[in-house]
């Protein structure tokens, strides 16, 4: 395996235990809480006995450690190569003006080594200095929970003003766009960073709006008919959703998928892209949306 055990959760867990044990002999509950945070579900069954039975000879029976210095591991060449690669990505400038490079190793990959071939072409402009400044201000506002005042253009080009506390920045690889998410109603609480024309810290009395769950979930249930390897394509395509799949017979599968209400139109066209390999069963409203498009298509007399 190309990734050594140096990167393993167990090594990180033991490093965290040592850090604490250098300060004071570690107690069982402290050990378990570190394992819980850094390792996996059943790791406690491995780590505790390994320490108790002195198989990992790093800790004394009283919980102190033979290690004198806080554990520190230099960057591996692989890590430096990856960091060199992301340093060449234009999005790095959103975060910092100080590009870090490790000249002793090459980048793991360059822009010529891979293509995101189905990415939309109208992505955000990361070279725009104003965009980068707004990105950084919004990120700071999220970290420090203060309101910002933005001006933005809607799809029709009309200018809007809005004050809100940003909660999160969301990135879509398909759209190549960043969006700011906030817990308020306007624009569904989602603001395309590329449409924001100005952004500043809001100083003044800010009345927090009623929280609104922008990611309200809807469910669609459909059958997949496994012709032309449709099943694999469908399940991979919809893999990023919370979903359940069930086999009905040798070629028919039933998929229940949960999606955000705001993405309904996108879901309709994504399902249409599978043609007769998918039939939507419920809810009725979703079936109606599909039928409406098919009715219109019929009238096109193709």
């Amino acid at each position: 395996m190309i990734f050594s055990e140096l990167y393993s959760a167990y090594y990180n867990t033991v490093a965290a235990v040592i850090r604490l044990a250098i300060d004071h002999p570690i107690k069982k509950d402290e050990l378990r809480s570190i394992i819980d945070r850094y390792a996996f579900g059943e790791s406690v069954l491995n780590i505790e006995p390994a320490i108790d039975e002195e198989r990992w000879q790093l800790f004394r029976p009283d919980g102190s450690t033979i290690i004198k210095h806080l554990p520190e591991m230099p960057l591996t060449d692989m890590e430096k190569m990856w960091l060199n690669a992301i340093s060449k990505d234009p999005r790095i400038q959103l975060f910092t003006d100080e590009i870090i490079e490790y000249p002793e190793v090459p980048p793991l990959f360059t822009a010529d080594d891979y293509i995101l071939y189905d990415k939309y072409s109208d992505g955000d402009d990361y070279e725009d200095e104003g965009y980068r400044e707004r990105f950084r201000l919004i990120l700071d506002a999220i970290k420090n929970s203060y309101p910002i005042k933005i001006k933005m253009k809607n799809r029709q080009g009309r200018l809007y003003k809005k004050v809100f506390v940003p909660r999160c920045i969301e990135y879509s690889e398909k759209d190549d766009k960043f969006r700011v998410l906030a817990d308020n109603h306007s624009f569904g609480g989602t603001y395309n960073l590329g449409r924001i024309t100005s952004c500043e810290r809001f100083i003044g009395l800010y009345d927090e709006e009623e929280p609104y769950h922008t990611l309200a979930k809807r469910t669609v249930v459909f059958e997949v008919y496994d012709h032309r390897r449709a099943l694999e394509r469908v399940l991979l395509h919809f893999a990023h959703f919370e979903k359940e799949a069930e086999k009905l017979d040798e070629t028919t599968y039933r998929v229940t998928l949960h999606y955000s209400a705001e993405d309904e139109t996108e879901m309709v066209i994504r399902i249409l892209s599978y043609g007769p390999m998918i039939k939507v069963l419920e809810p009725d409203g979703f079936v109606a949306l599909i039928k409406e498009r098919l009715e219109k298509q019929k009238s096109c007399r193709l």
Binding site: Y38, L108, F109, S172, A239, E244
Partner: protein, 398 residues
């Protein structure tokens, strides 16, 4: 893990793929790594276990955990922390004997101290030198060792984003593990996380590409459950942000052609010798890219190039359709015919690759032509089949 996550409907009996790990072992491993995402469903055939993750709500790819569970021995972990501590105490490089003596002192307090013979220590130091965390220097005939310098690297914000969006993001996740606490400032939409499981393959391919080397690939045929070996020249990685699939575009010397190979079908990559014509083959691929819609370099028609065009109609208040076509056209061209109609056209190696995308315009396609008439017929028949699927046969719609 992929089967539990992507498919999720398979019962115990259906996990037939050859593996030294039994179904129960694999299920237990997954429960330990991804317990919070595991779900169960009772069926007449028994209990089905599956992983369900809404990647939009997960700030960090949970599948990276698969790479953080590599097994090691009691000696490996003991030696690691003692070695790092010894080096932290010494700025000057140490000889193997000095290191061995120090290790003995560290372990002397235990009732049954472990012993590490010099060859074990040397092997570990060599391994660490290859990883880059140990530096070596030769003094006379003696090799001396010291810890590599600890260098600064990007903060959590950068790592949070790039570990999710950059190729081989798992390495960013390893780096994030070194930071105090992960943030939840970023979320990711349309986020495919399955490729995490192919990180080692992708990493090896990038390394081979950097050195302009050929590779021997061990690939599996999912349908036949067989393994085969291929000697290929890795040229470029094609990543779909709309399906999460990753392909290697490779030159196959024995067939003298460039073709895509699914990365999730590759089991092993063995990097071979430098390929002298590497730059030439990459140039050939570069010239082909403007006619590749997805990844295919050969259509079923046998024609070198296939043509496809279709016309869509939109109302005055549906100008976003034109914008959609413009941003999604890839290598195609969009031509406005009048204020409510436009035509898309493209010349590609394999026009079947466009079919799913063209179907997303169902409700407004007024005309369509494929140079391969069979594809056109299938397209139209599929639309008829959709009408039947929703009991909309007969008539021409309202």
């Amino acid at each position: 893990m992929r089967d539990f996550y992507v498919y999720g409907f398979k019962s115990r009996d259906e996990y037939t793929r050859k593996s030294s790990r039994s179904y129960d072992d694999e299920r237990r491993r997954l429960e330990s790594l991804l317990g919070e995402h595991m779900q169960f469903r009772q069926t007449p055939e028994g209990k089905n276990v599956f992983i369900s993750i809404d990647s939009r709500l997960s700030h960090h790819n949970p599948l990276y955990k698969a790479w953080k569970a590599k097994s090691f021995t009691d000696g490996d972990i003991t030696l690691h922390f003692i070695l790092m501590d010894i080096f932290a105490d010494n700025d000057e490089p140490l000889s193997l004997n000095e290191i061995a003596d120090e290790i003995d002192i560290y372990l002397s307090g235990f009732s049954e101290p472990k012993t590490f013979d010099p060859s074990t220590i040397r092997k570990k130091l060599k391994e660490y030198a290859l990883e880059g965390i140990i530096e070596t220097e030769k003094v006379g005939k003696e090799l001396r060792y010291k810890r590599a310098e600890s260098l600064p690297f990007y903060d959590e914000d950068v790592l949070d984003v790039f570990s999710e969006v950059a190729p081989c993001g798992v390495i960013g996740s390893f780096l994030l593990d070194k930071k105090k606490s992960p943030n939840e400032l970023f979320a990711f939409k349309h986020h495919y996380i399955t490729s995490a499981l192919d990180s080692d393959i992708l990493c090896s391919l990038f390394m081979a590409m950097h050195d302009k080397c050929s590779v021997t690939l061990e690939t599996k045929n999912r349908l036949e459950d067989t393994l085969m070996e291929d000697h290929v020249i890795p040229l470029q990685i094609m990543i779909s942000v709309q399906s999460g699939r990753e392909h290697l575009m490779a030159y196959i010397p024995k067939r003298n052609r460039i073709k895509p190979i699914r990365i999730d079908s590759i089991d092993k990559v063995k990097i071979e010798e430098v390929y002298p014509e590497y730059d030439d083959k990459r140039e050939v691929l570069k010239k082909m890219i403007p006619n590749i819609w997805g990844v295919s370099t050969q259509g079923r028609s046998g024609d070198r190039m296939e043509h496809v065009e279709f016309t869509v109609h939109y109302e005055d208040n549906e100008k976003h359709i034109l914008r959609r076509l413009e941003r999604e056209k890839r290598c195609g061209t969009v031509e406005e015919i009048d204020k409510n109609t436009c035509r898309f056209s493209a010349d590609v190696f394999d026009s079947t690759e466009l079919v799913p995308w063209i179907r997303t315009f169902i409700c407004r396609i007024t005309d369509i032509h494929f140079s391969d008439r069979r594809i056109e017929e299938t397209f139209k028949k599929d639309i008829e089949a959709m009408y039947r699927l929703y009991d909309m046969e007969g008539g021409e719609g309202s």
